[in-house]
């Protein structure tokens, strides 16, 4: 807890003291990129599902929320309020890395269940029904988490190696990166890796090809003997797992409360729409823009930080109502 506050103040001190030195610039870039990364990890699943399955999933926020709490249960042992208050400290206490590895697997399974029981019955229904039903699920889930875990926030314990500036085994702190905190570097690196994986998935695997074919014309693809249901299920669950990773990372950057599901899903949905629905490239660019604007606002006009993303979306959608990449095909 202490390290978190120190770390946050340290960041702002840099800006005040160092002005526009290299350190400040690097720190600034990593704040922008880490915020963008979190949004991107959540938005990418939304974007794929929206683009390929024509399913708008507000319940995606449940996966982020679930990821944050499951990760917390794995990483540490904490005392919670709510129904769990009687049981004292609960958790496996396996550490942050274990949480980062195990959570996506659990959320992947949850994603499979969600696709089968929540999304599938609604594929053929109106978009507004989908939006309303998943909104209801999200509110219900958040309320359930509040009842079980209590309404007060929890903070991820940050291990020593994650606090402060990054330091690698052999070379120590890489030149120029002394201002970038380890957790933010980790978030950005991991996101880059995961995004590369998803792009490669679409470009090089048969499943990716099947998803692309199914998006283009699912009836035709099925007539050619491709069972598009499986690839769609897989891509849904991968998107879910990404949201789970984002939950763990976001939980350690910010704090964990029962309302984070809705708090992350609103900007993510806005980013997906701003980028152009179905366009992965649009989602990436949208997230980067959002992160950039967020970081600029923290430096220039801190009171505008939270409003900045929405202002950006409003401006972008006023100029381009169909988003940045309006007619891109899935996988691009």
């Amino acid at each position: 807890m202490g390290s978190r506050t120190i770390h946050e103040t340290a960041n702002s001190v840099w800006f005040e003291v160092a002005g526009m030195t290299l350190d400040a610039a690097v720190g600034f870039v990593f704040i922008a990129l880490s915020v963008a990364s979190l949004y991107l990890l959540v938005a990418i699943g939304l974007s794929i599902v929206f683009g390929s399955l024509k399913y708008v999933n507000m319940a995606h926020g449940v996966l982020y929320l679930g990821g944050a709490y499951i990760g917390l249960l794995i990483a540490s042992s904490e005392e919670y309020g709510g129904l769990l208050s009687e049981y004292g400290a609960i958790g496996l206490d396996l550490g942050f890395v274990a949480a980062l590895i195990l959570t996506p697997i659990i959320i992947f399974v949850l994603g499979v269940a969600m696709e089968r029981f929540l999304a599938k019955p609604f594929y053929d229904r109106d978009l507004l029904d989908q939006l309303l039903v998943t909104f209801g699920v999200l509110i219900a889930a958040q309320e359930l988490f509040a009842i079980v875990f209590g309404r007060t926030g929890t903070i991820y314990p940050r291990p020593d190696w994650l606090s402060g500036a990054i330091s690698l085994p052999v070379i120590g702190t890489p030149p120029g990166l002394s201002a970038a905190s380890t957790i933010r570097v980790l978030v950005v690196t991991l996101t880059l890796l995961l995004i590369a994986v998803i792009f490669a998935f679409f470009k090089y695997t048969d499943y990716g090809l099947a998803v692309r074919a199914g998006t283009e014309d699912s009836e035709m693809a099925e007539m050619l003997g491709i069972r598009v249901g499986r690839p769609f299920l897989l891509i849904f669950a991968i998107g879910a797992a990404y949201a789970g990773v984002a939950g763990v990372l976001g939980g350690s950057l910010f704090n964990v409360t029962n309302s984070i599901g809705m708090e992350i899903i609103i900007p993510s949905l806005v980013i997906v729409i701003m980028g152009g629905v179905g366009s992965l490239r649009g989602t990436v660019v949208g997230s980067l823009l959002a992160g950039l604007v967020f970081a600029v606002a923290t430096v220039v006009e801190p009171s505008m930080t939270n409003a900045s993303i929405y202002l950006l979306a409003i401006v972008v959608l006023t100029i381009r109502p169909s988003g940045i990449y309006p007619s891109a095909k899935i996988g691009q």
Binding site: L144, M262, N306, A307, I314
Partner: protein, 384 residues
């Protein structure tokens, strides 16, 4: 409406003539006017003071005013979603903007209830006109999410950069002045009037409630309102017929926003407070839940929805053990309604009364009544 449920029981003995007459009169504007006036006149008494079996709702007069205000909000929201088919997840923008306009006008310019409410409504319409320019180029989900984005933008704008004006979470206090300089809204009646209405504040809100119900009925029955429906059913076809779809959507959006703004102003006047939370997305979410739960596209639906919501929030919330689960129960039933029964509670009531009219299914009805009787009764109470 409540007679709607009583009537079929009478019908068992009498001729079909009474039913036909009933069907004819129940959709007339005069009948709806009488029902809504009757509702306002008796609601507070029946809810919070009438000698009833359980006393959990005793003394909740304040809650009845809140329910009326939120009913107005839900009716306004329903005008957009139920009539025109546009789902806005950002109706808090009207509610909150009107709330602030009301408070700021009363503090800095002139403080008279009717004037500040009017200012609130006009401000909501103004913000709606700006938002419409961005929103009406978008469809379905895009419309909903961007409306949400605009609402959130206004929320964050009001909560920190404009904190000097809005006073953030502490809010602005509105002092209460006599209506038109003559009538004291806080005046408490004694005797029978006191039993029925308690104070002028209730009547003030009630009058607006009746006016909104009548206004919406007028729209629903007018050719103009039918065009809203046509757009909901098939926008492309409506434009092929030669209608300027954008213009009608624009008007529907402004009307809906204006009514939502009216609710925001009334709430500010009633609570004597305007706070930044009224712009938050959860306000928009609440009103979506209310309208859908009660029954979209109907008049009674949003009112029932608002009632059920506040019954849970105000009363079930206070119960031991069960109280913690009030929002969970509402969210689950909302999800269930969207999933399986899109007509909502009011739809359930009307289809139940339809079934009651069929003598052949009477036996089957008795069975279902045993299972579903309690919920039907509860909802009936909600409507009254």
């Amino acid at each position: 409406m409540s007679t709607d449920n009583v009537q079929p029981d009478v019908e068992d003995e009498s001729s079909l003539l009474s039913l036909d007459t009933w069907d004819r009169i129940k959709h007339t504007e005069r009948f709806i006017f009488l029902i809504s006036v009757g509702f306002v006149l008796t609601f507070s008494y029946l809810f919070s003071r009438a000698p009833v079996v359980s006393d959990v709702t005793q003394g909740y007069h304040g809650l009845t005013i809140t329910i009326l205000i939120w009913s107005i909000f839900a009716l306004g929201f329903n005008l957009l979603l139920g009539q025109t088919g546009l789902l806005s997840f950002g109706h808090a923008m009207f509610f909150g903007t009107a709330s602030y306009a009301t408070a700021l006008f009363s503090i800095h310019v002139f403080n008279e209830p009717l004037t500040i409410v009017l200012v609130g409504v006009l401000s909501a319409i103004a913000i709606g006109a700006v938002a419409a320019l961005i929103l009406l180029r978008l469809h379905t989900v895009y419309f909903a999410i961007v409306a949400l984005a605009i609402g959130q933008f206004l929320y964050f704008l009001a909560s920190s950069p404009l904190e000097g004006i809005t006073k953030g979470i502490n809010g602005l206090t509105v002092s209460r002045t006599p209506l038109l300089g003559l009538i004291d809204l806080d005046h408490r009646y004694s005797g029978i009037l006191g039993e029925l209405f308690v104070n002028n504040s209730y009547l003030f809100v009630g009058a607006f409630f009746v006016a909104v119900v009548m206004f919406i009925t007028r729209i629903r029955k007018s050719p103009y309102g039918l065009i809203f429906k046509a757009i909901r059913e098939n926008e492309t076809r409506a434009s092929f017929v030669g209608l300027d779809v954008w213009r009608y959507k624009f008007v529907a959006f402004l009307l809906s926003g204006g009514i939502a703004g009216l609710a925001g102003s009334l709430l500010t006047l009633n609570k004597q407070l305007a706070i930044v939370d009224r712009l938050y997305w959860s306000i928009s979410g609440d009103v979506v839940v209310m309208a859908v739960l009660g029954g979209l596209g109907t008049l009674a639906g949003p009112v029932i929805g608002a009632f059920v919501w506040f019954y849970f929030q105000g009363i079930v919330n206070g119960l031991p053990t069960l109280g913690d689960y009030w929002l969970l129960m509402l969210a689950v039933s909302f999800t269930a309604v969207v999933w399986a029964y899109p007509d909502g509670i009011w739809g359930m009531i009307t289809s139940l009364t339809q079934e009651l009219r069929e003598p052949k299914t009477l036996a089957a009805k008795v069975k279902t009544r045993v299972a579903g009787g309690s919920s039907a009764e509860e909802s009936d109470g909600g409507e009254r």
